[in-house]
Subunit: 330 residues, 2 copies
DNA sequence: TCTGTATGTGTTTACGTAAACACAAGTCAA
DNA sequence: TTGACTTGTGTTTACGTAAACACATACAGA
């Protein structure tokens, strides 16, 4: 309504105190008598004054903001990481500002540059692979950063996640132990999803070293979904008849199960299925799908805590591990 | 690394121009020769300078930020709205700052107060029901706001969504037309989810006016999931044997379908199922579930655009409508 | 040649807050 | 009664940027 928003001076005038006293009341610092605090609070409420953190930030060099960049909001994995981050920050009165990179390193660098213009306390990135420009930017500006989801490689400073390679290796071992030799791999958006690529690499290595083989590989350009998994499974079953299928994602695996259900294929007798992530919706499916449980929410929480911890602790790798869930589909 | 971060003055000194020229280059305004622009850009890159929007914001009263509050990040519906918002803002160089209310009005008011301290261009809220404190806060500060997902009621200023009541009514009509008379309702977290409550209200009204009845109602306190839907469906089928079940959510409906699949119940002969939202994963299920498609992403996009449009246009209701998807389960 | 306009750059100042410092009044033990 | 400490409040100043204004230079058209 009013053209110029009210300031601490307005509140101070109304409450009959100095601007500095209002500042102290707003931040809850210093010694303030209950009488003055109450006067200031009611004055602020009447005027409709809201603390201005922009001005505060410029005065203190420090503002309660954390920048978060995820590849997409369309994958539940990242929204769960976001949930963890949000929960951890909430307790500390810190807000996340976020950006989406669309799995594109150039885009990511642009988004980070923009986010840094808000002078956040820290930066949370997804994965360990970034453009040189981004790495240099982080180094030059000296922002604290934490990279989430992946620990196979060198973080800029700190990373929290799990070994994608080990997860792939473990699943390969599991399938081999069960006796499957002719194995197919189904993934989505793989060209950009380097974490899935790492899993596949380790998976394939373990499989071939054991004398078994990856007889087919379907990598779709579109985003992950049950529908895609169902379609690709139909294709692979028709052309390659694998004994087992490893999916880059539970969505895809669930789609595969749906294909089997709808076409009278017995799982795992006719084909075994294994997913990745351990999304909770799997529990409601007719058969429990074998998958790898990743601690996504915990990764988000840990990343936020690490970022805000007193001592920077550079070069820290936090591996929260994964858990192989032996379901009924292998 | 350096204790004090570089400023425009540092860049200006390095480039041999004035601070104001650097400012113009950073913002791309005014007349700047290519030679000077290049000098400034390289100087900034070498020093590692990043534009400081906090200082800019305090100088201009205007900063490219939009505050977004959602009830939860655990429901795909809201992350899809977020996707739409993020996409619409991206093109305009504006960032979302967000908060989670956990379906609690008091919490929501607190979060909004905090978000307003960043002096955003506008505020995006979920639903039309808010605490008085929040309404007053928005009124007093004069922030532009848009409420999303619901159009049944009075928005503070503007709302974008669809009529929850009409969605409930339409589904009731559909089930009645198909001849179902004994109908059960299954929901989650309903006490706080007022939009689901509105759908139920209109649904129940239409059902009872037609002489049919809601013979059972299961409303769980926990969050929506397929597993919950499966469990509640088992309960309802055992105790009430309804002809049709209306779920507050596709997750729950899919869980219901899983229960039927796993227990040899024919759908819709033994029981009909209807969900809500039209989530994409339904397409991969063995049977296409009847549901109501809500334009979630479009709601997010429209809300963001409306918020940033030149003229405030108060009291605007934008009803993007819903679409009843006639599946194979009714 | 003169005038007006487009182009390009600099100087001064204000934005709203918080740190640093100053100071006054009250409390309490020696 | 003194001095030290706790409690409570005010004054001055700096933070980094952008608006407003001022001032050049180049060039076209009369």
């Amino acid at each position: 309504m009013t053209q110029t928003q009210p300031t601490m001076h307005d509140v101070a005038a109304k409450a009959g105190v100095s601007q500095m006293t209002v500042s102290r009341v707003m931040r809850g610092t210093g010694y303030i008598s209950d009488r003055v605090r109450a006067k200031v609070m009611t004055a602020a409420a009447e005027i409709g004054y809201v603390h201005n953190r922009l001005a505060g930030g410029i005065a203190t060099y420090d503002n309660p903001l954390v920048a978060v960049v995820v590849p997409t909001l369309g994958n539940r994995v990242f929204t769960e990481v976001l949930e963890g981050i949000s929960a951890a920050l909430d307790g500390q009165g810190i807000r996340p500002v976020f950006g989406v990179s669309d799995y594109d390193p150039e885009n990511e660098a642009r988004v980070v540059l923009d986010l840094l213009s808000w002078r956040p306390r820290g930066l949370i990135l997804s994965g360990l692979e970034h453009s040189d420009a981004l790495r240099q930017l982080v180094a030059k500006t000296g922002v604290r950063s934490v990279e989430v989801m992946d620990t196979d490689g060198d973080p800029i400073q700190t990373c929290v996640g799990f070994s994608q390679a080990r997860a792939g290796h473990d699943m390969a071992r599991h399938l081999l132990d069960k006796g499957y030799r002719r194995i197919a791999y189904i993934a989505s958006q793989n060209s950009q999803d380097l974490r899935a690529a790492k899993r596949l690499h380790a998976f394939a290595e373990t499989v071939t070293q054991a004398g078994a083989q990856i007889i087919a590989q379907r990598i779709a350009a579109e985003g992950s979904s049950m529908a895609l998994g169902r379609r690709l499974t139909a294709e692979v079953m028709a052309s390659d008849a694998p004994q087992a299928i490893y999916y880059s994602n539970d969505d895809l695996a669930a789609g595969g199960l749906m294909h089997c259900l709808a076409n009278g294929l017995r799982v795992p007798q006719d084909v075994a299925l294994a997913g990745f992530n351990g999304l909770s919706f799997l529990q409601a499916l007719p058969q429990q799908i074998t998958t790898t449980l990743s601690p996504r929410r915990q990764i988000g929480e840990t990343a936020a805590q690490l970022l805000l911890s007193a001592e920077p602790a550079p070069d820290t790798h936090v591996d929260l591990g994964t858990q192989l869930v032996r379901g009924e589909t292998t």
